[in-house]
């Protein structure tokens, strides 16, 4: 079901948290709300679920306006960050809870619970209490409980934040598998760009209660609208150099760096600019030479990460195949791939 949020505003104790947000989640897609901690992701999620109410704005489930409905009447499934399982009920009772309070008959409940338990691979855990489960198992139970009454939308609040690295990888693909199998519309809240990129059809990047950009992971990566978005996606992150416009080039005069602005012609000389260079676009090959010194080197197995400090103190990050090793302190003359670099205005807008 398509979910749309129109002109949504939310204030906590006089502090605006969300300001005039518009967002549409397409039917059957999994959308990531990605942003730094405190930017209002959970607030948005809880507003969709009805736990928080909108101060202003409209929330549509399909063509039904649910803005005024309490969460009981919205038919949403929520997986909370700490799972919020009911500790005094066993797994079966936890999953059955949404059906029990709806007063479904016993046989239906039993069938539905077993079906969803099979889908989430927890059939053998139904008798256990939440306290007797591992983090990953609790996660699956929470997911099953959220899905059991076939909600219009599945809302996940940082579902992987409390898991260890290996489980996180496993649950990442599990959640995506289950979402695809059920075809449910889903919103995933996360501050982890890897999670957002690997699990979701589209990503909405949030900053201070606003959605900065909404796009597919690939488009977002290759075509960021602001330096904030460019900085949020990619690991290791993009490097930003500060310079000025000078004769249709991005220029840092003291180190004689000049990168052609290409299509962005006609910028007045002296305008401050930022140049974004992803680590994979800086290395021994490219077209714009830069001299510097290795100040950081880290081996990741297949690849090595380097920080190269330029003469003026600014730093460019690089990722290189592990075949050739550069040593810490070694002087290098590497190249920026100027066609792949992003040019931003001083306030972060992409040119």
């Amino acid at each position: 079901m398509q979910i749309s949020i129109n002109n949504f505003t939310k204030t906590f104790d006089g502090t605006p948290v969300i300001d005039d947000m518009n967002l549409t989640i397409r039917d059957g897609e999994m959308l990531a709300l990605l942003g730094p901690s405190g930017c209002g992701k959970s607030t948005t999620l809880f507003t969709i679920s009805g736990i928080h109410r909108m101060d202003k704005g409209q929330l549509m489930f399909g063509d039904r306006d649910v803005s005024g409905l309490p969460s009981q009447k919205r038919n949403v499934g929520v997986v909370f960050q700490n799972y919020a399982l009911y500790p005094h009920m066993n797994v079966f009772e936890n999953i059955a809870f949404p059906l029990t309070v709806r007063k479904d008959n016993k046989a239906d409940i039993d069938r539905e619970v077993r079906f969803i338990a099979a889908l989430t691979h927890i059939s053998e855990l139904l008798e256990r209490r939440p306290g007797q489960l591992s983090g990953g198992q609790q996660q699956r139970v929470a997911l099953a409980r959220a899905l059991v009454r076939k909600p219009d939308v599945l809302l996940l609040d940082e579902p992987l934040a409390n898991l260890d690295a290996k489980l996180r990888l496993e649950m990442r693909s599990e959640i995506r598998r289950i979402q695809l199998e059920t075809g449910i519309t889903a919103v995933l809240v996360t501050h982890d760009q890897v999670e957002a990129m690997s699990m979701c059809d589209r990503i909405a990047i949030m900053k201070k209660g606003e959605i900065v950009q909404i796009d597919t992971p690939a488009d977002m990566y290759s075509n960021p609208r602001t330096s904030f978005v460019a900085g949020f996606l990619g690991n290791p992150p993009i490097s930003l150099l500060n310079g000025i416009a000078m004769g249709n080039t991005f220029s840092i005069a003291p180190i004689k760096l000049r990168v052609p602005l290409g299509s962005h012609e006609g910028i007045a000389d002296g305008t401050p600019l930022k140049l974004g260079v992803r680590p994979e676009h800086f290395g021994p090959e490219g077209d714009i030479a830069v001299e510097g010194k290795i100040t950081f080197a880290e081996t990741q197995g297949r690849e090595n990460l380097y920080d190269v400090e330029l003469a003026d103190g600014s730093v460019l990050r690089s990722i290189q195949p592990a075949a050739r090793n550069w040593k810490l302190g070694e002087p290098v003359r590497w190249f920026i791939d100027s066609k792949s670099a992003f040019v931003f205005s001083d306030d972060g807008l992409r040119l």
Binding site: S71, N75, F80, P98, V101
Partner: protein, 420 residues
């Protein structure tokens, strides 16, 4: 540690000890002496001691012996008169004062005034009645002296009964079992504890949950309001209820204005007296319950409440399936703690209805208190009171064990969260 154990157990130990004695104001709590009194003779007669012995014990006899002569001398009787008595009446004895006095009047040096004659006669009187003997031996000697051919065992029986100090006995418990009052008081106690407890827990829960759902501004005010009964000193609180329910009190006037029967609601009828007693204690306990329940409610993770709403639970279902299960431990605690304190509390009842009208609202603890410490007749029966208290302690212990079983306390405690 020893000191702590001492403070915890000493009262119980003392109660147990007292419970098996017949201590009272009359016996004192230290040793006593041996006295045959008129009352004692009457009760001995009721217990079937033969009439002859009773009569003999009740009578005085007059024996002219050396001891009597010396006593008369000391009492200031005329020396010539004493000499005449010694010469003429030595070693004779009389069974009544009239006979003896008649004999005395025949003597030449007899005093002219009747009063002086009686003093002289009195010096030769011999009786065990109202004479205090320090030891059992002296009492038995006196009895042997008084009684000619007493029936088998009579002397021992009288000597034992004449002891004014306390003795070891299980009579207290036997008496409690056979007194019909006991069963009425037990009935009252059960009625009182069950109803007050129900009021404590249900009203406490109701207030806590309502306050929980109220916006914070209102809930603060109400929390304090509901605490008032708990923080008001007991005496003031009881006096407040008196004003409230007595003649010309608040309820009285309202009832009058409404044309309802207006009377002293605290003592005027059994039903209203019980209502007052249960409400007075009920509100104090409900306050206590509310504090605990409110604390426990705040400790429920808010995500669980959110989750239940998202899952479609109504307010009532939320309370029933999420909140109440979280309240199991505090409910157990309030129930058991309140049962025990209600069983042993009497202050509020004492200060309000004082167990009345009649003894319709007298509960076990109040009866024990009155028996042992606060009694109209003035004879405080420590032993009996302690026996009642001991039964209360035993009942309390048994109930604690039952409660712990019932709520499967062990299950809650068995797995330590922190391993050593």
């Amino acid at each position: 540690m020893v000191l702590l154990l001492g403070f915890f157990f000493l009262p119980v130990v003392l109660t147990s000890v007292f419970a098996f004695t017949n201590m009272s104001t009359a016996t004192g709590i230290s040793g006593g002496s041996y006295v045959v009194t008129g009352n004692l003779l009457r009760s001995l007669k009721d217990e079937g001691l033969d009439a002859k012995t009773i009569d003999a014990l009740g009578q005085s006899s007059y024996v002219i012996d050396q001891a009597g002569l010396e006593k008369a001398h000391a009492a200031g009787v005329d020396a010539r008169f004493i000499t005449e008595i010694a010469e003429r009446l030595k070693d004779r004895s009389f069974t009544s004062s009239t006979a003896f006095e008649r004999e005395l009047k025949t003597l030449p040096s007899r005093p002219t005034r009747v009063r002086d004659l009686k003093i002289a006669a009195g010096a030769f009187e011999q009786s065990v009645l109202n004479v205090r003997y320090a030891s059992r031996g002296e009492m038995e000697a006196a009895l042997t002296h008084m009684l000619e051919n007493p029936p088998e065992g009579a002397i021992e029986k009288v000597a034992t009964a004449s002891y004014t100090g306390w003795t070891w006995t299980t009579e207290n418990f036997k008496n409690l079992v056979i007194t019909p009052d006991t069963w009425r008081i037990i009935g009252n106690t059960v009625f009182y504890v069950v109803l007050t407890l129900a009021f404590n827990v249900l009203v406490g829960l109701f207030l806590a949950i309502t306050t929980f759902y109220l916006p914070p501004a209102g809930s603060g005010f109400f929390s304090v309001l509901w605490l008032l009964p708990r923080i008001t000193p007991v005496v003031l609180y009881a006096v407040m209820w008196k004003w409230f329910t007595w003649e010309d009190g608040f309820v009285f006037n309202i009832a009058q204005d409404l044309g309802l029967p207006a009377f002293n609601y605290m003592k005027g009828s059994v039903a209203s007296a019980w209502t007052v007693v249960i409400l007075v204690n009920g509100f104090v306990g409900a306050s206590f319950g509310m504090i605990l329940f409110s604390g426990a409610l705040k400790a429920i993770p808010v995500q669980q409440l959110w989750a239940s709403e998202v899952d479609g639970a109504s307010r009532w279902q939320q309370i029933r399936y999420i909140i109440l299960p979280h309240m199991r431990w505090p409910i157990l605690f309030v129930t058991s703690y309140q049962t025990l304190s209600l069983l042993s509390s009497y202050e509020q009842i004492w200060l309000t209805t004082n167990g009345g009208p009649g003894s319709t609202t007298t509960v076990w603890a109040l009866e024990a208190f009155k028996t042992a410490l606060n009694n109209y007749t003035g004879n405080l029966q420590y032993g009996l009171g302690a026996a009642m208290a001991l039964i209360l302690v035993a009942v309390g212990l048994i109930l604690s064990i039952v409660y712990l079983r019932l709520f499967r306390f062990d299950e809650m405690m068995s797995k330590p969260k922190i391993e050593f």
